[in-house]
């Protein structure tokens, strides 16, 4: 396949058009025998044989001897990846887009600050702009994008694609991000909960590589988990599995946005943590990273908040450990930067509330991919979707 200009209607143009036909047939049909290609394209078996020989020499296809209905046949497979994939990561204050290859590896990424929580329609419109701008800058044709996955901070209903009623971004409740993105981008888009995608990324390339039973816990505005059982993501009947932020811990605790009291989120979520601090003086921490920094410097109030958050997280994890018996728990989010100040109380309260045999096999680690985890997971899921389509 060369890019040399050829005269229309000439022998060379005809050969190129036929070659394209064969490649298209392989792209949509996967592995085909030469006879099947000939039937599918209408070309003569001899031309197909010639074209396949050329394509094989150019490294575009691989040929394998096989049999079909008892006769010898040659199975042809397209080697070159069928297309690139795109991932989008929505967080309350930021949109990030990435282009990945057909294996889900990051080729390029670009992020912008945007008030995503304010209005879903606008956020989607801006996300589409970000994808278009990213593709234009990289000179990647829209048409080569095989699949798009969007990471959203909230449970996604498996049947309708709707964001659940209780999310960190109340205005997104009932919104269907996959549908809105699909109609604007013109490519099939699937939306998935961000913690689920983080879990996928961590078992592929991160801290939990090669593990089969993993729970990823993301602590941000709220608390969410991605649960991997037997190497596959566990989504539950409606897609809300892993909403561990609403495990009830304290009947007399604060009322949560879900309507219950004392949910895990009310002692771990970023707004609650910052709200626990006395708002005095100019140096009062106003965000979780500031809170963590103050705790490291030895501020007693901040140390207390981090330690209590750790204790609550340990109790929550204990319930999960008893239920799922994971071999590894991966933690992600800004609060994890506190390190041992958080993990030490986590372990202590885990010991009190967990079956010894479940605890013995369980490791607790920090995520290996940091804040890129959701984006990486989205690329992996998009690559899987693209591969299953071809």
């Amino acid at each position: 396949m060369t890019d040399v200009e050829v005269t229309p209607g000439s022998q060379a143009a005809l050969r190129r058009a036929n070659q394209q036909r064969v490649v298209d047939a392989l792209r949509s049909g996967g592995t085909l025998t030469q006879a099947e290609i000939a039937r599918g394209t209408g070309l003569s078996p001899a031309s197909v044989s010639n074209i396949v020989r050329n394509l094989r020499a150019a490294g575009t296809v691989s040929v394998r001897e096989t049999s079909s209905n008892g006769r010898r046949a040659r199975a042809v497979t397209l080697i070159r990846p069928p297309g690139a994939v795109v991932a989008l990561d929505f967080t309350p204050g930021r949109i990030t887009a990435a282009l990945g290859d057909s294996q889900g590896a990051v080729l390029a990424r670009e992020g912008i600050a945007y008030d995503v929580a304010a209005e879903p329609e606008r956020a989607v419109r801006r996300a589409v702009w970000l994808v278009e701008t990213l593709l234009t800058r990289l000179r990647v044709d829209h048409g080569t994008i095989a699949a798009v996955t969007a990471a959203v901070p909230g449970p996604v209903d498996l049947r309708t694609g709707e964001i659940g009623a209780i999310t960190g971004m109340p205005r997104w409740a009932g919104f269907r991000p996959a549908q809105a993105l699909t109609s604007r981008l013109g490519v099939a888009v699937q939306a998935e909960n961000d913690a689920n995608l983080c879990a996928l990324a961590e078992i592929r390339d991160g801290a939990a590589a090669e593990r089969e039973h993993v729970i990823y816990v993301r602590i941000g505005e709220g608390v969410g988990a991605g649960i991997v059982v037997d190497g596959t993501l566990f989504r539950g009947a409606g897609g809300t599995a892993g909403e561990i932020g609403h495990i009830g811990l304290d009947e007399r605790g604060q009322v949560c946005r879900c309507g219950n009291r004392g949910c895990l989120e009310t002692v771990l979520g970023a707004p609650y943590l910052v709200g626990m601090l006395p708002h005095q003086g100019e140096r009062a921490p106003a965000s979780v990273p500031e809170l963590v920094a103050a705790a490291e410097e030895g501020d007693p109030g901040c140390r207390r908040v981090v330690a209590e958050a750790g204790t609550a997280l340990g109790r929550g994890l204990g319930i999960l450990a008893n239920t799922f018996n994971p071999e590894m728990v991966v933690l992600g989010g800004e609060l994890i930067e506190a390190g041992e100040a958080l993990l030490e109380p986590v372990r202590r309260s885990l010991e009190l509330g967990t079956l010894g045999s479940a605890l013995g096999q369980m490791e607790i680690v920090r995520g290996g991919l940091g804040d890129e985890a959701a984006l990486r997971g989205a690329l992996l899921l998009a690559a899987t979707a693209a591969a299953s389509e071809v």
Binding site: E110, G111, I112, A113, Y114, R122, R125, R126, V128, W129, L130, E132, T133, L134, T136, R137
Partner: protein
């Protein structure tokens, strides 16, 4: 969207033998972003200059908030509430942000510059646009392209305009900076201003514009609702792909073709 804030109809403009604008119509409503699109030489800049009063039209009507007006000088446009931000931004690189914002409209107290009052108002203005600047007292030369664009747009807002014309505000900006300018355009719309956005970047247009008005060879070549129109349709209007003898012929049924012949 009630009555248009700015309504141009039948605008024509000649430069000698060259007809730069031929019976062009354009309307902008309050709280609406209209993208003005067209190839090079389509008449976009000429139309902007007509609206800004730099090059008055030879003929045609201009209605501003329903009233017939004539814009013959830049001062006329400014008085009506039409602000224009050109590509060169017209910022003074050696002056700080506050001095640039109040260039030509400096506040004075007792015969001297009232720096405190100007800084206070500058802060309020930038806050209302959710714009974050490292310091209001750094020379504009040290700002990024996107920040300079934002300062130029913010400056135009001091005159409380009703219509803002932006000439290629996102050209030559990085992704994050372009996003900031797009945010600002959305905020102008939320404030109820009419925005005319000239751009060659279709992604930017699709991200913020409500309507796209296309000019081609000095004439109107289409007015599209951006949400409902495909990228290809707009590009076809810009390039004239939808309006040439070949496509016209192919659209016609055989019956009308004989009529033509």
């Amino acid at each position: 969207m009630s009555t248009p804030v700015l309504e141009l109809s039948g605008i024509s403009k000649n430069f000698g033998a060259v007809q730069a604008l031929n019976q062009v119509d354009l309307t902008v409503s309050a709280g609406e972003v209209v993208a003005l699109l067209g190839d090079n030489g389509a008449g976009k800049s000429t139309l902007v200059k007509v609206i800004a009063g730099v090059n008055p039209a030879d003929s045609g009507d201009v209605l501003f908030e329903g009233q017939q007006v004539s814009i013959n000088r830049p001062a006329d446009a400014q008085r009506l509430g039409i602000a224009t931000i050109y590509q060169d931004l017209a910022l003074c690189d050696n002056l700080d942000i506050v001095a640039n914002l109040f260039l030509g409209v400096e506040k004075t107290a007792f015969g001297a510059l009232d720096e405190v009052e100007m800084e206070r108002r500058a802060l309020k203005l930038l806050d209302s646009l959710s714009v974050k600047m490292p310091s209001l007292r750094v020379p504009v030369a040290s700002l990024s392209g996107g920040q300079r664009q934002i300062i130029a747009i913010a400056r135009s807002l001091l005159g409380e305009p009703k219509v803002v014309l932006l000439d290629e505000p996102t050209a030559a900006l990085g992704v994050a900076q372009t996003a900031q300018v797009l945010d600002l355009i959305e905020r102008l719309r939320d404030r109820g201003l009419g925005v005319i956005l000239i751009s060659h970047n279709m992604a930017d247009v699709r991200a913020v514009a409500d309507r796209a008005a296309v000019l081609r060879l000095g004439r109107n070549a289409g007015d599209f609702n951006v949400e409902e129109t495909s990228y290809e349709q707009i590009v076809a209007a810009i390039t004239g792909a939808s309006d040439n003898p070949v496509s016209r012929r192919s659209e016609r049924t055989p019956a009308t073709r004989t009529e033509e012949a």
